[in-house]
Subunit: 376 residues, 2 copies
């Protein structure tokens, strides 16, 4: 890095986790963050400035409106946000800027026109963000424990319900995806977590891994719970998937469940510090293939194991690294999911997902929720 190159981000930190990670300040609307010679500076509107002074983990908080005034006195007639930024950067003699890959092209082009040299850092923007500290792992575990407790509550109507005409009846009514989602998301909210797009799917719906599920839940069919809420206190996510079957499962689905469990174990055995995630991914794929599970397009639809084995998790639910065919190398301190699944239209879908920390010698599994397929 050139000695006088400053780091620049312009984003709201509720949606941009790099911004949150670097500033420790949560705000909905875009604000300016510059790091000049190791010193972190925020530039904010009058609305946010006093709150930022109290809460942000930065060295200085500057007023956007004051720098707009400076730009005006420098001769800019109708100064905007970028003119204020320019005034600050000129004052600090900064000409080179390092920005994240997702930095907006419109702003980048305008800064280039103003004479700044823009260098783009490929993702991940923060090399440290993908390596979790003990404190971050504790926050992820907190989110995960609340999630596991919510899943337990969500299972009650399925557990207590009786099978009638292919559906599950509880307290006189058919149990639905919407009802279970409501139980889980409400319980999460009561514990300060936001469960958005929680997946409770059954039967054919399970064949689309991201189908959120709707309507009455099928008995004698696969059921997928995939819950990945974010704490709105710590802002850290959790992510867990469990699959169930209300009734007595046929032998082929029991075997599929057992094989997915085994595939998950195989992958975990291949995960450790300084190894590519693709080795774990391949372990699952090879095993599934050896067991005769077809993966690919058939009759115009995807079948088999057609997603990656896992992904990093932290301030984003999907973040680096990927545990997939990609070249990403795993390092001690990364937190990743391990989530093999098999999906066959006509049969249903099963997925199991645990959250693990990569260690020097293997993994530390953070997930405690038991893996039991059949619910009698």
């Amino acid at each position: 890095m050139a000695s006088d190159e400053a780091t620049l981000m312009i984003a709201g930190s509720e949606t941009d986790s790099d911004m949150l990670y670097d500033t420790g300040f949560l705000a909905p609307d875009p604000f300016i963050y510059v790091k000049i010679r190791g010193r972190k500076i925020l530039m904010l509107s009058d609305l946010e400035i006093d709150r930022a002074k109290a809460q942000a983990k930065v060295h200085t908080v500057q007023s956007l409106s004051q720098y707009m005034e400076k730009a005006k006195s420098n001769g800019t007639r109708n100064p905007g946000t970028l003119d204020a930024l320019e005034a600050l950067l000129k004052e600090r003699k900064v000409k080179k800027l390092l920005v994240p890959a997702h930095f907006g092209v419109a702003t980048a082009d305008r800064l280039r026109k103003k004479g700044f040299r823009i260098r783009v850092k490929p993702d991940p923007f923060h090399d440290s963000r993908i390596l979790k500290t003990e404190d971050e792992i504790k926050k992820i575990i907190q989110s995960l424990r609340h999630t596991e407790a919510a899943i337990k509550k969500g299972l009650v109507p399925i557990r207590e319900g009786k099978i009638r005409k292919g559906y599950i009846y509880h307290q006189g009514r058919r149990v639905t995806s919407e009802q279970i989602k409501n139980i889980i998301n409400t319980d999460l909210m009561q514990n300060g977590l936001i469960g958005a797009h929680t997946i409770i799917s059954s039967g054919e719906q399970c064949c689309e891994p991201h189908d959120e599920g709707h309507g009455p839940i099928r008995a004698n069919a696969t059921i997928i719970f995939d819950v990945f809420p974010r704490s709105h206190k710590t802002m850290y996510y959790a992510d867990i998937t469990r699959s169930f079957f209300k009734g007595v499962a046929p032998a082929h689905l029991k075997k599929m469940y057992k094989d997915i469990r085994h595939g998950q174990d195989l992958a975990m055995a291949e995960i450790r510090h300084n190894r590519k995630g693709s080795i774990a991914d391949k372990a699952i794929r090879d095993f599934f293939e050896a067991e005769g599970y077809f993966t690919g397009l058939r009759d115009g639809r995807m079948h088999g194991f057609f997603h990656g084995t896992g992904h990093g998790l932290g301030l984003d639910v999907h973040e680096a690294p990927r545990v997939s065919r990609s070249d990403d190398v795993l390092r001690a301190g990364m937190v990743v999911t391990v989530e093999p699944g098999l999906y066959y239209p006509g049969l249903g879908g099963i997925r199991l997902e645990d959250l693990v920390v990569v260690t020097r010698t293997g993994v530390r599994n953070l997930t405690k929720f038991p893996k039991v397929f059949e619910i009698p």
Copy 2:
């Protein structure tokens, strides 16, 4: 627009509302959207492709992995997402691309290197998105009604509570911001809305308009409820603010409340089709100034009315237009907030926020929640 210029977006539609607006498809991870000669095309991973075929409002859904194979057979050794996109664009003879202002600079630069001409459209990306249809307004009203019902429930402990030693006691315990937020957010979640960063602040906390509030709620002090949840069914937001005072308010705070109400009425009277929002904004500012309310920096902190009068709302909680000093012109069909506030450290803060539709002749106020300051 040049006749052969295609529109390009690459983003996840859970966070990028332009992507959601144009595709009608909700997905967490970035995917590719291209509009070529009026035809909408999605390019997606194997994980999402079948769900997109069923749900997306586009003409064609293409497979990312198949176009990666094409790129490979065209000679690219280790093809990535952009190589697949390039293969599609070459096949369709597209060389010029129109992208949104927030399109990632890294991708834009790489496409430029590949020989594409990139034109950036300033915000808003969709001219139609800021003009709401009747169906969109209905969805916003749905979100708003649930929000008003949740606020009513959240007020119960304050209404039923008794003042003791400067705090509000209900069922033997001090009423807290966390408790009220929990009541409101849980009620919202039960109705399919996600209330994130709900503001329940009291006393000095009210002086920071975006302070979420914490701890016991003060009696004999200002209380602000600012609730702005998103429906996870329709994906449309609502936004409303009410201010309260538990006990008998002193004359100066009662006057402040009355003046904010009057300021809000003045602004609404200045809002109509084809007028600048700044006229409404100025009406409030002039009135506050005439009434002797100081706005600006004093003793290092912001005082008075130091935010804009309002903002557009829809698939984003803050979207175009702004009702502020800016030049944004209001048009019939826009949905905007009107939310004057006054904040004085030592005294507290009061804000009132309604949601209105701009019409040819004025506004249609969507908000029904009454404006009553004192809670006995």
